[in-house]
Amino acid sequence: MATKQIIHGVFGDEEPLLEACKKLRASGIRIKDVFTPFPIHGIDPIVGVPRTRIAICAFIYGITGTSLATLMMWYMMVHDWPNDIGGKPNWAYYFNVPAFIPITFESTVFCAAHGMALTYFLRCWLVPGAKAKNPDPRTTDDKFLIYLELNDEQSKKADEILRATGAEEVNYKGTLTIEPKY
C-alpha cells in the first residue's frame, strides 16, 4: 500500500511555472496536471503530455463519413430507384461520380468535425451536469497551478524546487492511498 501526497504549487505568472515544470521533470518528478487561466503555447512537451491522438480519430471519422455518404447515395440514386437528372441516368455509381462528390465531401467534413467534438467531450467527460474538476478556483482567474501526487521522498524535493522557482504558495492537500493491484 502506497501513500501519496497531493501538492498544489501555485504561481502568479506563466514564466516561473514553466521554469518549475522543466526543473521538476529534470529531477524525475512526474507532473500530474497543470491548470492555467489561459492556454500557454508550447507547454505540452514541457509538462510531458503525450501528443494528442485526435488526428487519428478524425481520420477514422472522416473515412466513415465518406463511406456512409457513398453507401447512402448509391442506395438512393442507383440501387433502389435509379434517377435520371439532367439527362444523366444513374445506371451505375461511377457514371455520375462528379454529381456525388459535393455530398461525399460534406459528409466527410460533418462526420470528422462532429466525431472529433464528441470524442473530446466524452474523453474529458464534459457532459451535461458534469461537476467542475478544478482543484483551486483561482486558476480560472489569475493563478497558475501545478498539481502533483508524490511519495514522501519526492515531495520534499518538489517542495524545494517549487519554492526556489518562485511559487507563491505550496499547498498540501492531504494524502491519497493507492491500493496495490495484486
Binding site: H41, G42, A55, F59, G86, G87, K88, P98, A99, I101, P102
Partner: protein, 410 residues
C-alpha cells in the same frame, strides 16, 4: 545569432545551375521554332512554341504576383508568424516586375501579328467583310483592343508598384537604428490592405484577359479564382522550398520548425482550394451540359485526357496523402519532395489551360518543347530570385512582430 549568415551569398553551384538552365532552355526555344511546323496549315505561326513561351512566362510571373499577394496579406492581417521568412517572400515577389516585362513583350509581339495565341488579336476578326470575321468575337470586341491594352498596362504598373513599395518600405525600416513608432510597418499595413483590394479585382480580370481570352468563345465565372488558387499554391511551394533549402545551407537558423510546419499547412490547404475550384468549374459545366461551355472540356477530354487526369491527381491526391500527417509537414525531405512534384504539377496545369485553345487537336503529348521552355523560365526565375535575396539581410530588423515570430510555436 550568427551574423555572418544574415547576408545571403549565392552558392556558385546554384548560380551555375540557373545559368545552365537558361542556356539549355534558350537552345530548346530556338529549336522549337525550327521544328514546330505544320505543312498543311499556312497560317500556323509556330503556335505551339509561342504557347509554351506564354505558359512559362505566365506561370513564373504568377508565382511572383502571388508571393506579393501573400506578403500584402501578412500585413493586412497583421500576422506575425511569417516575419522570419518575410525576406524570402519579398525575394520571390520581386520577380513580378521581370514577369510582367516579359509578358508585355509577348503581348506586343502578338499585336504585331508575330504569333497567333490570341485569336481576337488577328486583324480583321471584327470586320464583317474580312475572311477572318468571327461573329462571336465581333460582338465583344469592345472589351478587347484598346480597352484590353489599357487594362493590361494598368495591371502591370499597379502590381509592380505595390510590390516595389512594400519591399522598399521593409528595407527602409532596416536602415533605421530603431523604428520607435513602427512608421514603416504602418505604411505597409495600409499598402497591403489596398493591394488586397486591387489584387482581388485584377487577379480575376487579368486571368480573363490574358488566359481565358485564349478560348475567346468560351467563358467561366470561376476562372479567375481557379487561376488565382493555382498561382497561390505555386508561390507557397516556391517559398517553402526556398526556406527549406536556405535552412539546409545554414541560413535562416532562427526560423523555427513551427514556421516550416505552418508553411506546410499552407501548401496542404491551398492544394485543396485549387482542387475545390478546379472541380467546381468542371462539375458545374459537366452538370448543366450547355454546348458553348462544354466545348472547353470536350477538347481536353478528347486530346488531353492523360494530362487532365495527371494534373488532377498530382495536385490533389498526392499532396493530400503526403502532407496529411504532422510529421511530414515538419520533415524537410518530404516538403522538398512533395513541393517539387506539385510545382511541376501546377506547371502542367498551366499547360493544360493554354494548349487546347492554341494548339488544339494537333497536340501530340508532352515533349522536349514544354520541358525546354519550362527550364528557361525556371532558370531565369531562380537567377532573379536568388539575386533579390542578396539585396537585403535575410532577417528583418525593426519589425514589431519579429520577436513573436522568433518564438513561434504551434
Amino acid at each position: 545569432m550568427n551574423t555572418e549568415k544574415l547576408n545571403f551569398v549565392i552558392p556558385s553551384k546554384a548560380k551555375m545551375l540557373s545559368i545552365a538552365l537558361m542556356v539549355i532552355g534558350l537552345i530548346c526555344i530556338a529549336l522549337m521554332f525550327a521544328f514546330d511546323k505544320q505543312a498543311d496549315d499556312p497560317e500556323y505561326h509556330h503556335t505551339r512554341a509561342w504557347a509554351n513561351i506564354f505558359a512559362g512566362s505566365f506561370f513564373f510571373m504568377a508565382i511572383g504576383l502571388a508571393a506579393a499577394f501573400f506578403l500584402g496579406l501578412q500585413y493586412a492581417a497583421e500576422a506575425g508568424w511569417a516575419t522570419t521568412v518575410k525576406r524570402v517572400i519579398e525575394g520571390v515577389a520581386m520577380y513580378v516586375q521581370w514577369g510582367v516585362s516579359i509578358l508585355l513583350l509577348f503581348f506586343i509581339l502578338g499585336q504585331l501579328q508575330v504569333h497567333h495565341i490570341y485569336h481576337w488579336m488577328l486583324s480583321g476578326v471584327a470586320d464583317a467583310g474580312s475572311q477572318h470575321y468571327d461573329k462571336v468575337i465581333a460582338d465583344k470586341i469592345g472589351y478587347f483592343g484598346v480597352f484590353w491594352w489599357i487594362r493590361t498596362i494598368l495591371y502591370m504598373i499597379g502590381w509592380s508598384w505595390f510590390t516595389w513599395k512594400l519591399v522598399k518600405n521593409s528595407r527602409e525600416a532596416d536602415k533605421l537604428d530603431k523604428d520607435t513608432n513602427n512608421s514603416f510597418h504602418w505604411k505597409n499595413i495600409k499598402l497591403g490592405a489596398w493591394f488586397m483590394v486591387v489584387f482581388a479585382v485584377t487577379s480575376s480580370t487579368s486571368s480573363w484577359d490574358w488566359v481565358m481570352s485564349i478560348d475567346t468563345h468560351w467563358f467561366s465565372t470561376l476562372f479567375g479564382w481557379y487561376t488565382f488558387s493555382g498561382m497561390w499554391i505555386s508561390a507557397l511551394v516556391t517559398i517553402t522550398m526556398l526556406v527549406v533549402w536556405l535552412k539546409r545551407l545554414g541560413y535562416l537558423e532562427y526560423v523555427t520548425e513551427s514556421t516550416i510546419h505552418d508553411l506546410g499547412k499552407w501548401m496542404f490547404a491551398i492544394s485543396f482550394l485549387w482542387t475545390y475550384l478546379y472541380f467546381s468549374q468542371f462539375m458545374l459545366i459537366w452538370y448543366s451540359d450547355i454546348p458553348e461551355e462544354v466545348v472547353y472540356f470536350q477538347t481536353r477530354w478528347e486530346s488531353y485526357k492523360a494530362l487532365m487526369w495527371t494534373v488532377f491527381f498530382v495536385n490533389f491526391a498526392f499532396p493530400m496523402i503526403m502532407l496529411m500527417s504532422r510529421d511530414s509537414k515538419r520533415n524537410f525531405f518530404f516538403l522538398m519532395f512533395v513541393g517539387t512534384i506539385i510545382f511541376i504539377g501546377h506547371y502542367l496545369d498551366v499547360i493544360m489551360i493554354v494548349m487546347p485553345g492554341t494548339v488544339g487537336h494537333a497536340w501530340t503529348g508532352l515533349s522536349w518543347m514544354e520541358l525546354g521552355s519550362f527550364l528557361f523560365f525556371l532558370g531565369l526565375f531562380l537567377f532573379v530570385v536568388l539575386r533579390n535575396l542578396t539585396k537585403a539581410p535575410l532577417l528583418v530588423k525593426n519589425h514589431p512582430f519579429l520577436e513573436e515570430s522568433l518564438h513561434h510555436t504551434t
